[in-house]
């Protein structure tokens, strides 16, 4: 039951991180993009199906 929930949590986090990454703050923008990229990597490495 844990894994599908993890995927949903990561997708929700991705949406939030995407929103943060549009920040106009020069000090934070790179850090938010870094956070989004980490979540992207986790989503991708958990993919076990060819379906989108």
């Amino acid at each position: 039951m844990g894994e599908p929930d993890d995927d949903a949590v990561l997708r929700a986090m991705r949406t939030e991180a995407e929103r943060l990454a549009t920040s106009g703050d020069a000090l934070l923008r790179g850090q938010y993009e870094y956070l989004r990229a980490r979540i992207d990597a986790l989503i991708e490495l958990r993919r076990v199906s060819g379906a989108d």
Partner: protein
């Protein structure tokens, strides 16, 4: 000279820190300190014992002044003894050992031993942030091409922080330190098609600049897109800083950082290393991350604004191996926020003159700091570099300064060389009150340093033989 982006306009977060009043900043520090000490009271036997010695609990900390008055300082010797008793991190570790994500050690240049620091995942992010912060203030922006000349990786904080910082800014980083010769680094930079930012030790920026000029390359022409040179680790004379800015056509910036600060504790920011009126500029301290005290090293009483004291550091949020009231041994001229023009409530230290109390040499009754000799020697642009030696001969203390001339002086006649040597000797006497023997040597006879220079050898004890 390229105008720098205003960091406070470009970062609303930074603008909020800059906009705090002094009471607001100190309230933030006290809140973070209480939280830090409450955590360490539970997780670190070393700091729990020090709280007990102070007769304090985390909840009982009522003010920053009370904490400074009662909580005992720690020194490098304390940390080394702690590590020996509880290897590898000591009982000061504030997290479970399996939560250590990165291990850093101090450089070992003091000769006393290396402190070991365990970093949590959170600390590693902060390590990057505390490099990104001064560099964003110095004008570095996402997509800029940055050349990091400090050797990357390994065990030191300086080996890991720049990589993390440049990554989270989103700069395109070339980590050229360590593995390449100076000429190979120059060749690589010339091929990059535009470089915007260099991070190097003071000593290495000097070496790089001298090597470029020696090859007949004018840095500002070869790298017209350069908008920031950021140095750390060593002092310098203002004459040298002025020439560096002239050769490169951009601002020189400086940061104060250390393993104990988990990165930079302050920086000159967009103002650069010159203050108003052309004097030394100020390094503004990032006091919401590190609580700094500047104290008299003998009495531990606070130093007055304008005076030189020892920096004592307290990490307000580091989890792994935090330092709490750690005596850094770093000697800096303290400038209170009230005296530091610039509009923020951040305390400051003078740029370009940070030295070490434990580097001080007692020579013929005088306190001589290597940085004072550096300032005298490098005020002469005819000098490439030097090495100093203190030794005993016939029961007398002798001091020898061997200097090599810069490449652009290759054709200088002997008379001119003698004049420069005499001028250097006078300048050293003026800054240290000690006459030293100054002689010329070949450039190849001097050691080359990729990071912190260790120009002085004290061989006096070897002279005491029966």
């Amino acid at each position: 000279m390229t105008k720098l982006a205003d960091p406070f306009a470009d970062s609303p977060l930074l603008a909020r820190f800059a906009g705090l009043s002094r009471p607001e900043l100190e309230a933030l520090q006290l809140s973070k300190l209480r939280r830090q000490m409450a955590r360490l009271e539970r997780t670190s036997a070393y700091y729990a014992e020090r709280l007990r010695q102070a007769g304090l609990t985390a909840e009982g900390i009522t003010s920053l002044a009370q904490f400074a008055e009662r909580f005992p300082t720690s020194s490098k010797a304390d940390f080394l003894a702690d590590q020996q008793a509880h290897p590898p991190f000591g009982a000061r570790l504030g997290i479970a050992r399996e939560q250590v994500a990165l291990v850093n050690m101090t450089g070992g240049t003091s000769g006393q031993g290396q402190e070991t620091y365990g970093r949590s995942q959170r600390d590693v992010h902060q390590l990057g942030y505390l490099h990104a912060l001064p560099w964003v203030m110095a004008g570095l922006r996402p997509g800029d091409v940055a050349v990091n000349c400090v050797p990357a990786g390994g065990m030191t904080t300086g080996g890991w922080g720049p990589g993390e910082g440049l990554r989270i800014i989103g700069a395109t980083a070339f980590h050229v330190g360590g593995g390449l010769s100076t000429d190979a680094k120059i060749d690589l930079m010339l091929k990059l098609g535009g470089v915007n930012f260099i991070y190097a030790s003071t000593n290495y920026l000097h070496t790089r600049t001298a090597a470029l000029l020696g090859r007949g390359i004018t840095p500002r022409e070869a790298f017209p897109d350069m908008h920031g040179l950021f140095i750390a680790a060593e002092g310098y004379p203002l004459e040298w800083a002025g020439k560096i800015e002239e050769h490169w056509g951009c601002r020189l910036q400086e940061g104060y950082g250390s393993t104990q600060c988990n990165g930079f504790g302050g920086s000159t920011g967009s103002a650069g290393v010159f203050g108003e009126g052309g004097g030394r500029g100020l390094i503004r301290l990032f006091e919401w991350e590190t609580l700094f005290e500047v104290v008299d090293p003998d009495t531990l009483q606070p130093t007055a604004s304008g005076e030189v004291g020892e920096l004592v550091a307290t990490n307000l949020s580091v989890e792994g191996s935090p330092v709490i009231r750690f005596r850094t041994g770093d000697a800096a001229r303290y400038v209170s926020w009230k005296d530091a023009a610039g509009g923020t409530c951040w305390n400051a230290i003078e740029a370009g003159s940070i030295g070490r109390f434990d580097d001080m040499m007692k020579i013929r009754g005088n306190n001589v700091w290597p940085t004072a000799v550096d300032a005298a020697v490098f005020a002469h642009d005819q000098v490439f570099d030097y090495a100093g030696r203190v030794y005993t001969e016939g029961g007398k203390t002798e001091i020898e300064v061997r200097l090599a001339f810069a490449d652009h002086c290759a054709d200088m006649p002997d008379e001119g060389r003698a004049e420069v040597i005499a001028s250097v000797r006078e300048a050293i006497k003026g800054r240290t009150n000690v006459w030293m023997q100054v002689v010329e040597c070949r450039r190849a006879d001097l050691p080359e340093f990729a990071y912190k220079a260790r120009r002085w050898k004290d061989e006096r004890q070897q002279g005491y033989r029966l």
